[in-house]
Symmetry: C2
Subunit: 185 residues, 2 copies
DNA sequence: AAAGTTAGGTAACAATCGTTATTTAAAAAG
DNA sequence: CTTTTTAAATAACGATTGTTACCTAACTTT
């Protein structure tokens, strides 16, 4: 009985996602989505109760992208190193997303910073393969490495410093190396 | 001939500054300032051409506060260590200000992240007193320490992790110690 | 083919913002 | 005491939002 749906929920969400990718949530509004969709704002509110609900859906899509990055290479041999590089690569490829998840406190984001307290034992164990430290020492080491990694990621996401991929890898590798030496002496 | 000025420029600026301290620039608008001032919006635009000009003035006041923090203890014996602690303390005491200066790119902030490239030789020399490294080695060391410090500051400013002053000092001291050992071997 | 359901467009509403025209009145100078 | 200058209040305007009432028309079912 009703006319066919032209603008699917998925399309609306995707357009919103790409606007946020470029401009952050500040740049997102109903009329801009409608314009990209070549439609009125109506299809948006057909699929989402209000903008708040849409933003939550966008946030979840963003978070999935982050998880995709962090899971890539989780089973490689240098898994621990890869984790850090993935974190920074995410900040570089999707600076607005990184800022949303890790650099702004909104009503959207959950508790998700990876610290020794809430990091899984598997991550510590992966690190031990690299360092050979005891579990307790490795935990302390991990906090430091992760803060450092977060520091780089923040600089990259805000475009404060323009590191190439090679520079990033060197910086991280060198620092980890020096820290390991420090922990072993 | 004219009525006496009741609301001085300084008062307007101070109120704006305190609003930004609590809520960031997002929370700042003419009517809110007027309300705090117990006045209409008129005195604001008497002293400032437009909100943009007022925001620039607020930014400068914020930046002065940052410099005040960074200069404190610059001549103490542990000047290098103090610098890092001051940076983090600023992030803790004025999280919104820290975010404005170092975590958001706006049309207000200049280039001001302290990296090896644009850091003064005096800072490197101060660091050498602590480490005893060569000038070139000290530069590389400094970049790492500063990224780490920035990492902690970002975590503190966003309230992602709640470190006490003691924990912060320990974390920084320990990391620097391990890195020095690493650089010496 | 008629009827009912509802997708989508149009356009309006209210809220919030920066900004400003107009008015009021305070105070100094004559 | 009158005049002049201008600080401040009132209130409006225009932009930009989220949201929604109302209308049109597409399409399935009968």
């Amino acid at each position: 009985m009703p006319p066919r749906t032209i603008f699917e929920k998925e399309q609306v969400l995707n357009i919103a996602y790409h606007i946020v990718e470029k401009e952050g949530f500040e740049g997102l509004n109903a009329r801009k989505i409608a314009k990209e969709l070549n439609a009125s704002v109506h299809p948006i509110f057909k699929h989402f109760k209000d903008m708040e609900e849409l933003k939550r859906a966008v946030y979840e899509k963003i978070y999935s992208k982050y998880q995709e990055y962090m899971l890539s290479g989780a089973n490689e041999e240098q898994a621990y190193k890869k984790m850090g590089l993935s974190y920074i690569k995410f900040a570089k490829d999707y600076p607005e997303f990184f800022k949303i998840i890790f650099m702004q406190k909104t009503n959207l984001n959950a508790e998700n910073f990876i610290m020794a307290d809430n990091v899984g034992d598997d991550v510590i164990e992966k690190g031990q393969i690299l360092t050979g430290l005891s579990f307790e020492e490795q935990k302390k080491f991990h906090v430091k490495v992760w803060i450092f990694t977060h520091g780089i990621a923040c600089l990259v996401a805000t475009n404060t410093v323009k590191f190439s991929d090679v520079e990033i890898e060197e910086l991280l590798t060198q620092t980890v190396k020096k820290l390991i030496i420090g922990y072993k002496n």
